[in-house]
């Protein structure tokens, strides 16, 4: 097969006009607004519905809101959630008649796909996707978030209803 070479003019062969055109394009950007951000020193501004790491919350009385119904474990598409149900004393005044609480609650952050289905399915409003992102670690074990870590990340979520108090 014969390859056809384009016939170049003298200017083309000179190469300078192309260089200059390229330089002009670059120079035009100098006075414009910059897109680049200095991550990680400068953080992104996240939009309202941004879905970051799932965390567990306590209510204003300091109770763990999760009652270990295991719906999030059931719904989780990548099976990142693992729950170990446990009991709590329903007669203790601090527990306000809730009988169940997770003994441990593990989210495997190497698996989580930040889909938010756990938050959507939760009947207790106990799990939320916070805006935390860029979760890293040196070991796999560091990315297994256990109950204590999740509660620490989650903090307190004001509960206007407190349904268990009315049970």
């Amino acid at each position: 097969m014969k390859v056809r070479r384009p016939k170049l003019t003298f200017l083309d062969r000179l190469y300078l006009p192309q260089i200059l055109a390229g330089m002009w394009l670059t120079l035009k950007h100098i006075p414009r607004k910059k897109f680049t951000r200095q991550y990680p020193e400068e953080k992104f501004k996240l939009l309202g519905k941004y879905r970051g790491a799932p965390v567990l919350v306590r209510n204003q009385d300091g109770q763990v809101k999760c009652v270990s119904c295991q719906l999030c474990e059931f719904v989780c598409p990548p099976k990142a959630i693992r729950l170990f149900p446990g009991k709590r004393d329903p007669h203790a005044p601090a527990e306000a008649k809730i009988e169940k609480e997770p003994e441990d609650f593990v989210i495997d952050m190497t698996r989580c796909i930040y889909c938010g289905q756990c938050e959507e399915v939760c009947p207790e409003q106990a799990i939320f996707l916070k805006k935390t992102f860029a979760i890293t670690g040196y070991k796999r074990a560091e990315l297994q978030f256990h109950k204590d870590r999740l509660l620490e990340l989650g903090g307190v979520h004001e509960d206007p209803i407190c349904k268990w108090k009315k049970k």
Binding site: C69, P85, K100, P123
Partner: protein, 591 residues
């Protein structure tokens, strides 16, 4: 049948039902489901939940007591002005039932609304969620939100009725199934309702608590989460459980069960319907007898002289030492547990057949015992593949008995003693040869003992006798005094980890199926026995001259699958002629 079936119309579809059938069952025949809470096919009818209301019409009769026909030649049906409960209405000739009319749907929605008024809706912490009739029917007939603005009625919650049962009265829908079960089936009238109207509460009579061996059946019966099992409570959500049809190994009744497991952990056993065996009940002892499956102490690696070994090495080792003992004229005896499956016991017996009839090894074993004429008729049937008397003196099972009740619990606590007799392992009566075996060991005649799933130190063969043996091979699941004394330990699978059959006290052969995996390298005993059989019957053994250690390496077991073992057993046993493992189905077959 002498009684003629009754023809009726169920939602316009013709159904033939036996006289006396109620409308819920007749609807089931037509493939129509009538929602209900209080009705249960195996309990007396109470008719108090009002969920099964349907429209019932009867054919109009003329003065001649013949149905009046309409213009199209069909009998004219007169529907009643009010709805009727389907559970307590028997079928009658020409009856027409409508189960999906707007009136019926409206009635069901009304009943659901009333039931949900005081229901706490704590499904997130309720163990019944996922298998709750109220939850299911609320999806079909419930409203999006409640019209009830008043405070809900509060009743006792998390009350421990006894050590096994927890009661939550707020969840109770007052169906009275538990009351009827305790009164009419379990025979202890101890539950009842107190107070009236919306304050009606289920409770125990003062000073009484359910104390039968069948209490936990009311947990299965309860259509909601009012009664829950303390054992299963909060341990796992039911939608994660894989339900495997199996059998209860607690006694010789062989109740049909479902094993609820998740990721190789067994969480519960529930009864499975079998009209010929346990109807739909099981006893609490049997139901709670599953914890050893998850025991961390379970045997998980083959042990040869106390050291872990690979399977082929362990099998070859046993075969080699057995050959050496036989060549030196020593006897080999076996104790096969009647907790093992029939297939395993068959292979066990087969193994002894090969060991005792190998031409060069044993010449006098056959003259030792002659078939006895007095053997029971079962005995004649129960020796598949064994030349009568060939090794009858050297095999037995350990009997195990307890108090029987008049309902399901059998005095024989071995699930498969009939199977052990069928396979020719157990003596008649079972255990009668154990003393002989012990004496044989004491005299030093029996040099090797094979034990299948039994702790023989509890059966008269103590540690001092075991110490006299040249070879003690134990196939078992849990460590014990016998495995401690064993030269070779081959880890086995529990009833929930393998397939196989049990023959119950009434001679019904039923199937187990594997629900979970055995721990570590442990595997079903039939596989080990099958390989051992292959090793023992290999040419090298028959020549009595094991040449090299690698000659014992087992590559092809005799039986590649359990179905093949069953087929071999069926081929050799007249009682099982033409049977297949799959042919047993879910309900079993009478031998």
């Amino acid at each position: 049948m002498s009684v003629e079936n009754v023809k009726l119309l169920m939602d316009g579809r013709e159904v033939l039902a036996a006289p006396g059938t109620n409308l819920i069952e007749a609807a089931r025949l037509a493939g129509v489901e009538i929602p209900h809470f209080c009705y249960h096919p195996r309990l007396p009818i109470a008719g108090n939940c009002r969920m099964c209301l349907v429209e019932v019409g009867l054919p109009q009769l003329g003065p001649d007591r013949k149905p009046v026909l309409d213009a199209d030649g069909r009998p004219r049906v007169n529907f009643g002005p009010k709805l009727t409960i389907a559970c307590n209405t028997p079928v009658s000739e020409g009856m027409a039932v409508l189960t999906r009319t707007p009136r019926v749907i409206k009635a069901r929605r009304g009943v659901m609304e009333f039931l949900l008024i005081n229901h706490p809706l704590d499904c997130p912490i309720c163990d019944q969620a996922g298998e709750c009739r109220l939850q299911e029917l609320a999806v079909d007939y419930g409203q999006g939100c409640s019209r009830f603005v008043e405070e809900k009625e509060h009743k006792p919650k998390h009350v421990a009725l006894n050590a096994k049962l927890m009661l939550d009265d707020e969840r109770c829908i007052l169906c009275s199934r538990c009351i009827r079960f305790m009164r009419d089936v379990a025979g202890q009238d101890c539950l009842g309702f107190v107070a009236r109207g919306s304050r009606s509460t289920l409770t125990c009579y003062p000073g009484q608590e359910p104390a039968t061996n069948y209490d936990l059946n009311i947990v299965d019966l309860c259509p909601v989460g009012a009664l829950t099992s303390t054992d299963f409570r909060f341990r796992q959500r039911v939608w994660f459980l894989k339900e495997t049809p199996s059998l209860c190994p607690h006694c010789a009744t062989g109740c049909n069960t479902l094993i609820g497991s998740r990721e190789d952990v067994v969480y519960r056993q529930t009864p499975r319907d079998n009209p010929a065996v346990n109807q739909c009940w099981m006893c609490d002892q049997g139901r709670l007898n599953y914890k050893f499956i998850n025991d961390p102490a379970r045997l998980a690696t083959p042990l040869v002289d106390g050291a872990p070994a690979e399977w082929p090495v362990a099998i070859a080792h046993v075969a080699q030492r057995l050959a050496a003992i036989r060549a030196a004229g020593g006897q080999v005896a076996g104790i096969g547990s009647a907790r093992a499956t029939t297939e395993e016991l068959f292979l066990f017996a087969k193994l002894f057949q090969v060991l005792t009839t190998s031409p060069q090894i044993d010449a006098d074993a056959e003259s030792e015992t002659r078939p006895t004429e007095t053997a029971a008729s079962l005995d004649a049937v129960c020796r598949p593949g064994l030349r009568p008397g060939a090794n009858a003196g050297l095999l037995d099972s350990v009997p195990r008995s307890g108090a029987a009740d008049k309902f399901l619990l059998d005095a024989d606590r071995n699930p498969n003693m009939r199977g052990a007799q069928l396979a020719g392992v157990a003596a008649h009566p079972p255990g009668s040869r154990l003393a002989e075996l012990a004496a044989g060991i004491a005299r030093g005649e029996i040099k090797a003992l094979l034990v299948l799933g039994e702790d023989v130190t509890a059966a008269g063969i103590g540690a001092e006798l075991l110490a006299k043996l040249e070879l003690l091979v134990v196939l078992d699941t849990l460590p014990g005094a016998t495995t401690a004394a064993a030269h070779v330990v081959l880890p086995g699978a529990s009833f929930a980890e393998k397939g196989g059959t049990f023959v119950n006290a009434k001679g019904r052969m039923q199937q187990l199926s594997p629900a979970v995996a055995a721990p570590g390298a442990a595997r079903p005993e039939w596989q080990s026995l099958s390989e051992l059989l292959a090793a023992v019957s290999s040419r090298a053994l028959r020549d009595g001259q094991p040449k090299a250690a690698n000659a014992w390496n087992v590559t092809t077991p005799v039986f590649p699958s359990l179905g093949k073992v069953f087929a071999a057993m069926a081929a050799e046993s007249p009682a099982l002629k033409g049977w297949t493992l799959d042919g047993l189905g879910s309900q079993g077959r009478d031998v």
